[in-house]
């Protein structure tokens, strides 16, 4: 009866609370289970951003945080220059994949930017 009262006045049942807690804990469990995926995501993020701006690869931060009912990815990317890295010529006459290698002009970042073989 108390429960009926609660329901009529919009109070959440404990099973609904349990379900919500479970959903959230599993979201973060799944993320924390795959640190190598987070590293890969970071490396690819750098690669994409570097096509447009020059980023500081050593200071990039990627974190996952919980905001109420959702998980958010927070990326902090210091930008060194609003121009693409010089070595690259985006409108390469040959087109195709030619400029891929020279894009990596700094020393390798901490995160693996090579397509790492499964180990």
């Amino acid at each position: 009866m108390i429960d009926l009262f609660n329901r009529l006045f919009g109070k959440q049942t404990s099973s609904a609370t349990a379900k919500e807690r479970l959903r959230l804990v599993l979201l973060s469990d799944h993320l924390s289970l795959a640190p190598e995926l987070v590293d890969k995501l970071k490396a690819e993020l750098i690669e994409v951003l570097s096509r447009y701006v020059e980023v500081d690869r050593t200071k990039i931060e990627v974190n996952f945080e919980q905001h109420d009912s959702a998980i958010a990815m927070m990326a902090n990317v210091p930008i060194l220059s609003m121009h693409p890295p010089k070595v690259e010529t985006p409108t390469h006459p040959g087109g195709g994949d030619a400029p891929k290698r020279p894009r990596r002009r700094r020393k390798r970042p901490t995160a693996t930017s090579n397509p790492a073989p499964a180990s």
Binding site: D3, L4, T13, A16, A18, K19, L22, V25, D29
Partner: protein
């Protein structure tokens, strides 16, 4: 009293030449009913005519023999076989209720780390040559005991209760198992009245999160406790709804098309009925 009659002809279900199937019963969390599930599923499969071996992989905390009422018959255990002290046939304990059911007990005074993983795989393979089903009762946890229980299995059944901690652990175990074992879910200890009042996660709640093929749902009923007290699996009792639920699970495991698992509300008191009348579904 209510025992089902045993079919005297063994292995009526499948031809003996075929290799049997090894299924690990696991959960991550302890106390959710892995051993009870193993005992009852094994009993129910054996009563369908299949030849069944139960392997207690919970080395150091042996319990499957107790649930089956076979504790006084155990002479050798799984480590005796793995270390080649006795032949497999000598260590298999014949069940007292079911003609086609055998138990390989765990070692009580040894540790899980004593088990050689590769030897365990070979043992399960050997059992698969002799039996239609090999059910492996996995210990709680995800350490070496889990690895050893899983190593020889073809498939997995995961047992979960409608609790946040149990669901989280099953999720973790399913992640560790990967796709290879095609895990199927049994939700144990469901209390329909509590679910209706919104005080317990429902079968749908649990499986909306786990998203596994649902093999069965077992209600939290006193007859399971009574059966365990006596050492007579509830699957033997023709008059028990819980027993029927286990027999339905066995039918699904054997590949029969059985209606989707459900739990019914037991006869309730007046106030509970009134509550559910006004309270609606959830």
């Amino acid at each position: 009293m209510h025992e089902l009659k045993v079919d005297p002809e063994p292995a009526a279900e499948s031809p003996p030449a075929k290799r049997g199937k090894a299924i690990v019963i696991t959960s991550g969390k302890g106390g959710v009913g892995k051993t009870t599930t193993t005992a009852n599923l094994g009993t129910a499969l054996a009563h369908r005519g299949a030849r069944v071996a139960l392997v207690d992989a919970d080395v150091g905390l042996r319990n499957l023999d107790i649930v089956l009422g076979l504790e006084s018959r155990v002479r050798y255990h799984v480590l005796d076989v793995l270390e080649e002290k006795v032949e497999l046939q000598e260590a298999l304990v014949h069940d007292k209720h079911s003609e086609n059911l055998f138990l390989l007990a765990a070692a009580q005074s040894r540790e899980k780390d004593d088990v050689d993983t590769e030897a365990m795989r070979e043992l399960i393979e050997e059992l698969c040559e002799q039996f239609d089903y090999v059910l492996i009762d996995c210990p709680a946890g995800i350490e070496k005991g889990f690895t050893n229980a899983v190593v020889g299995a073809d498939e997995a059944i995961v047992v979960c209760t409608p609790e946040v901690s149990a669901v989280r652990d099953v999720d973790r175990v399913v992640g560790l198992l990967g796709n290879k074992f095609r895990p199927q879910l049994i939700i144990n200890r469901v209390r329909p009245l509590l679910v209706q009042k919104g005080k317990m996660l429902s079968v749908e709640d649990v499986n909306s999160i786990l998203r596994l093929p649902l093999l069965g749902v077992i209600a939290d009923e006193p007859d399971v406790i009574i059966s365990t007290n006596k050492g007579e699996p509830v699957a033997l009792r023709a008059d028990s709804k819980t027993g029927a639920a286990y027999r339905a699970i066995a039918a699904r495991v054997a590949g029969e098309n059985v209606p989707a698992p459900t739990v019914e509300l037991e006869a309730q008191g007046f106030m509970a009925k009134l509550g559910s009348f006004f309270g609606g579904r959830r």
